[in-house]
Each structure stands twice: as C-alpha cells, then as structure tokens.
Point group: C2
Chain length 393, copies 2
C-alpha cells in the first residue's frame, strides 16, 4: 500500500469504513459533512487509489439504490505486542479483524536483535499460512516508554539493550512497510477502545497489570503520551510510605508491592515459609511460581493466595483512586496477565476506589476487566498503524 | 457583539489576531493554509461582521505594502474569578489585555444571589469608569466543579447553595451577553497559558493552593475537564495514610494536611500552644491567623512557620510526584493565595517531585510559580469566553 488519503475527508471516510465495515455511499454521506457531489468525488478518488473497492448495490432506502464500498479486502496489517516474557503477533485485514494470531514466550532482555528475529519469524509463519502476501503497515508495542514520533524506546527500565534502538526504522526496512511504535499499555487501551469494553468511551484509563504495571490514558478519544512518552508510568507512584525498596531506587512504589513479579516473589516466600501448603506443593512441582499459580491456588480456596490478591488489589486501588480524582475518567479498564486473578482482584480495586475517590468522580464510573485479553495489544497495534496510514500524508 | 465566525478559517484568524495583536494580511497568510484569494475573502467577511477592522498599511516586505487588520477595538470581555473568600472582576479588550480590575472580599457561602449582586455591582463600577459600554461576552470562574456545557456548578463542597444553580443562564440574562462558566483552577491554567509562564506549553499542570487545593490539567493545548467536570480535584487524594480527618469523610486527604485553611488552623494551634512567639503575637494583634501571617512570620525567620510551609510543600510534592509520573507534563505551575509562601514552599515541592518521580518524567520538567498572580483567573475567564465566541456557532 503506497497510497494515502489526500485530505481530511478521505481520511474520515477510510476510518468510517475501517470502524463500521462496508457501507453504502448514501449512508457514508449521512455521517460526513459534504455535499453529495463532493462526496462522490472523494469516494471516486479513493477507488482510484485502490484503498477502497466497490462492493455491489446497497439495499434500497426508497429511490435509486446506492452503491456499496469497502476497504480493499487484500490490505494486511501486522500487529506485534512485545511483553517482558512473551510476544503476540497477529495479521489483520483493514477492518482490524484478526485473521491469524501467534503467541510465544520471549525474554525482552535478550535485546532487540534477538527479539525482532523471533518476531519476523512469527510474521513469516503467518505469511506461510497464506494469511498475507506482504504487509501494508505494522504496529509494534514494547513494554517501556517510547519517543513516539521517532518510534524509539527511551530509558526502558526492564529492557536492557533497547535504549535508543531505532525500532521504527529497523522494522520498516525489514518488513518493507510503514511502522509505528508505541508503549504496550497504550496499545492495550487502543485495542479496548476499538473493539473491546471501551468502545465509544472518549475518556478512560486502562491499567495493565503484567510483569510490571502501567496505565494507558485516553483523553478526548486520543492516547495521551506525555512530553517524553512516559505518561501512564504508574508503577513508580508511591503506594506505601517507606515501603519496600524498588528497583528504581525509591521505596514503596506500587510495582514493588503489586505486579506479576511482586506477586510471584510473595508467593514463593509464602511457599518457602510453609505459610501456604497449596503454594508449597506447586513450588515443589514447578520449581518456580508465577501469578498463574497464585490464581490457581486462590481458585482452589488457598487463603494466603486470596490474601495476596486482595492486598495487591487494595494497593492498586489506592493509586487508581488518586488518578480517578485527578483525571475524572468515564471508565477504568483493568487488563494484563493478572486478570486471571479475576473478580477477587477487581473487588479489592473497586472497594478502594469507591471508598477513597470523591462521589462526583465515581458516581457513574464503571471499573471493569478488559474484554479482549491477549488480543487487545495486537488489535491496538493494528489500529495505531491504520490511524497513521488513514491520515493525510 | 452578535456576529460569530462562519467557518474554521475565520475562527483561526480571530484567534491569531487575539493572541498576536494587529497584523498584516500578508503575515496572517503565512500562518494559515489558504490561497491568497480565499484568505482575502475570509478577511473581507470578517470586516463585514465588524469583528475585525482595517488598521492602516503594514511596513513593506518588498513589493506592494500589505494592509493591517485588527480585532475591533471596541470589543469588551468581562472576566470574573470567584474564590472562596474574595472575587476578582476585570474588563479586557479583544486581545485580552486588562483595561480595569477590581478585587473585593466575598464569602462564597453567601450563595449565588448575593455573590452575583456583588459581581454585577463591580462590573457596573468598571462600566461607570468608562471602560465599557456593555460586554460582548463574560467568563466566570467558581471554586468548585462545573458541568461545563451547561455552566452549572455540581456538588461543590465549599459552596453551599450553589449546587445546580444555572450560573450561565442567569448571568447571561443579567449581562445581556454570552457567558461561559468554569472551575477557577481551569481558568488560572488558561490565564497562565495565554499570558503567563505557560505560554506555548501544550501539556502542563497548574496547581492552585488557596483556601483549598486543586489542579488545572492542560493536554494538547486544551483544558481536560473530565466526564463530570471534576478533573483536577486533587485536594482529596490521600497524602497521609490514616492521616487527619477531612471534611469529605475520608482521612489523610492532601487538603486536610495542606491548604490555606489547613495552614491557618495549624498556625493558630502553634500560636495558642505558644510554640511560636511570632505567631502568638500576630494572633494577639489580629484575632485570627491566615496564610498571609504565616508567610510574614516565615519571612521574619520564625522557625515554626518555616517548618509548617516546608511540611506542607512536602505533602503537596508527594501528590504532585504521582501526578507527574502519571501525566508526564512539560511544566508544573504553582499558583494561588499561598504563593506568598514563595520559594520555601517551591523548594519543598521541587525536592519531593524530583526525588520521587522517575527521571524520564522530570528530566526537563520545570516547576515554577505562576507569573500572573491575581490576574491569572480573570485573563483565563476572558480567554474562555473568547474561545467560545471565536469559534463557529
């Protein structure tokens, strides 16, 4: 795909077709402020670029039947969501529907060269499966702050070797298509906004609790990234005065008290000290414990695991309560690996937010789990690159 | 003024003339994406409305001399900034320059009827002084959350009698002009953005410490108000776990530990217990103590007052540190009544934020006092109504 929309009207038409699927000229006209003749001109120009194709006649609305159009069915986006310990790669069509999706374990600390070798191999597998001949664009999420215009990670704490690596440029060359790069949490928020629980919500927070903890901020329908791309970095907000030492050098950071990593550490401690027979048995069997074990133990009624989840939820809720008072969002979405902890976690977070934030800010505030699970990030990645490609160059 | 811009180009031209003053057609053309002939059409239409007037010939740029235009010199905006214990009323021209400014003590708890009687009397005085024949629009700030589209205060904690009062509608009738209403802290942020320390900054926080404490949030050049208009209500973020009881029913809220009101209470306590001879003497003389007394005592070297300011700054800094990590602003402005506490307060806030937020978020982050003092709110109010009037109807 080399064509880009020539103006804001064409960009808007492309986004409508992406978000609503095939549509008639008449119904597109209802949603866009253009005279019938000017609309026809813009759609004809999009047909000429090949971005849009004719799609038969629409049902009659009384009078002459309108022609349907749709985004070119051969367009393909690659969505990549790199986490600390795993990676998701998916192919979507131009309507951002997932045509194929792979996930594999990965260690982000192996550095960009090794990681992108794996990512490109996964993309190759999806191609070999006949899902794409090539890609028209790719969105990449990484678990750290990104200097957004350049697509370069900056000082990412859990990604040694990535600081300043030109992800956008390097992948764009390898893939032979335009690439956009963003923080993984922002992509999760965009995914839930496009196809998940945050559809049609214009101001919301998306808290991702995985190995670390971060927050996607959507204000007025757009992701707020902050001046250095580090907005939403809530893992180092102080949750406990003079609390646990954190890798960042401070004490009491949220992430030191609750995150996938903190939970695994606490569970291992409880197993070793024989506080929980359930966790001790799992440690014996697996040799190591993760949030998944804590979730399973909690589901089996293990009191220690339930208490760890509740305490973590309360800490997280304390921080979110402050953010709710500050930002006054219309929705809070909880996502990431620890959503396996499910409703125990959610209940603890809700209790704390509803107790601690002002009633005016929480009166109509839903706090919910994300709907898309592992696919949120890759859908968000496809959305990111499509937003770029469906804007005037 | 009944005319409004007919399209986005005219709106942009009006805002350029407001923010940059009189200008030549040629220089306006350099800043706006319009062909020379279309630009001429839009400017001619604005001249016809009377919003813009001719202003002589510009200096030559080589070639034919361009004609200057400016906003109609007779346009008048009223800016009103209602605080908990005082009110500021000012008249500006269309370039938002203050032509006259009055401030008076006031008790917001007297309710909207009494308060607006006083405000209208002050506006009348400014008229009588020959500064305006009438007003083309008015912006009003109130010290509480506002349902922005309607201009109605909602559940304002320190404003009994104001909940649901139709400020916008009532004042619009009284003044015979369009009115917009906003939270006072948002107006301070808009004032500092228009004419103060935040000029040309697109993402910043403006923390106002007066009787209470609140925060204006500017994202991408626009005020973020939140879904119920309560964004920036940081006074009830927990600063001290299990801390002092707060009027909101929780414990440890920032406002319970530091604000103009909390400082006055702490100072009175210190005076009564004879911890500070300086404060005791002032209490004896004045019968009551305010933040102004604490500032004066601190300036005279009173250790207790200095310690109160430092402690308050540290608490405030703890909360701001979390907001900086979350929002990643390009600037933090400290304003409001307690800026009389000056650099002792600022130093304590800075120490805490620079120590506690991540280096990536604070690397280039200035934390400064506001530049405009009492005029920030009224300039912000004039900016608010001009933004409204200089947009297509």
């Amino acid at each position: 795909m080399t064509a880009r929309p020539a103006n804001a009207h064409q960009a808007r038409l492309l986004k409508l077709l992406r978000d609503q699927g095939p549509n008639s000229r008449a119904q597109l006209g209802d949603q866009i402020e253009l005279s019938r003749s000017k609309l026809a001109v813009e759609i004809d120009r999009l047909l000429e670029t090949g971005l849009v194709v004719a799609d038969g006649l629409a049902a009659s609305r009384g009078g002459r039947r309108s022609h349907n159009v749709r985004l070119a069915p051969g367009l393909r986006f690659l969505g990549v969501d790199i986490g600390a310990t795993s990676v998701d790669v998916a192919v979507t069509n131009a309507e951002l529907e997932i045509l194929g999706h792979l996930d594999e374990p990965l260690d982000v600390r192996d550095g960009p060269v090794a990681v992108f070798e794996q990512v490109l191999a996964m993309a190759g597998k999806l191609k070999d499966a006949g899902l794409a001949e090539g890609f028209d664009g790719a969105g990449i999420g990484v678990p750290g702050p990104v200097r957004f215009p350049d697509g370069v990670p900056v000082a990412p704490p859990i990604m040694p070797g990535w600081d300043g690596f030109p992800v956008r440029e390097a992948l764009s060359q390898e893939l032979g298509c335009p690439v956009m790069v963003d923080n993984d949490v922002n992509l999760m928020a965009m995914g839930e906004m496009h196809a998940g629980v945050a559809r049609s919500v214009r101001d919301f927070l998306c808290v991702k609790i995985g190995t670390g903890i971060g927050c996607g901020i959507v204000a007025g329908g757009a992701v707020h990234r902050g001046v250095t791309g580090s907005a939403g970095d809530i893992g180092h907000i102080q949750a406990v005065p003079d609390g646990r030492p954190c890798a960042c050098g401070n004490r009491g950071c949220l992430e030191a008290h609750f995150s996938g990593a903190a939970l695994a550490r606490d569970a291992t401690e409880a197993a070793r000290q024989q506080v929980s027979a359930e966790l001790a048995a799992r440690l014996e069997t697996h040799g190591t414990l993760t949030a998944v074990d804590v979730a399973a133990a909690a589901a089996a009624g293990d009191a220690t695991s339930l208490e760890l989840i509740r305490e973590g939820g309360t800490r997280t809720g304390q921080v979110i309560a402050g953010l709710v008072s500050f930002f006054n969002p219309g929705l809070v979405v909880i996502g990431g690996g620890v959503t396996g902890l499910g409703h125990t976690l959610l209940a603890a977070i809700r209790t704390q937010v509803y107790r601690q934030s002002l009633p005016l800010a929480t009166g109509n505030l839903p706090i919910v789990l994300g709907e898309l699970g592992r696919t949120a990030g890759v859908i968000g990645a496809a959305r990111l690159i499509s937003d770029h490609l469906f804007s005037p160059a």
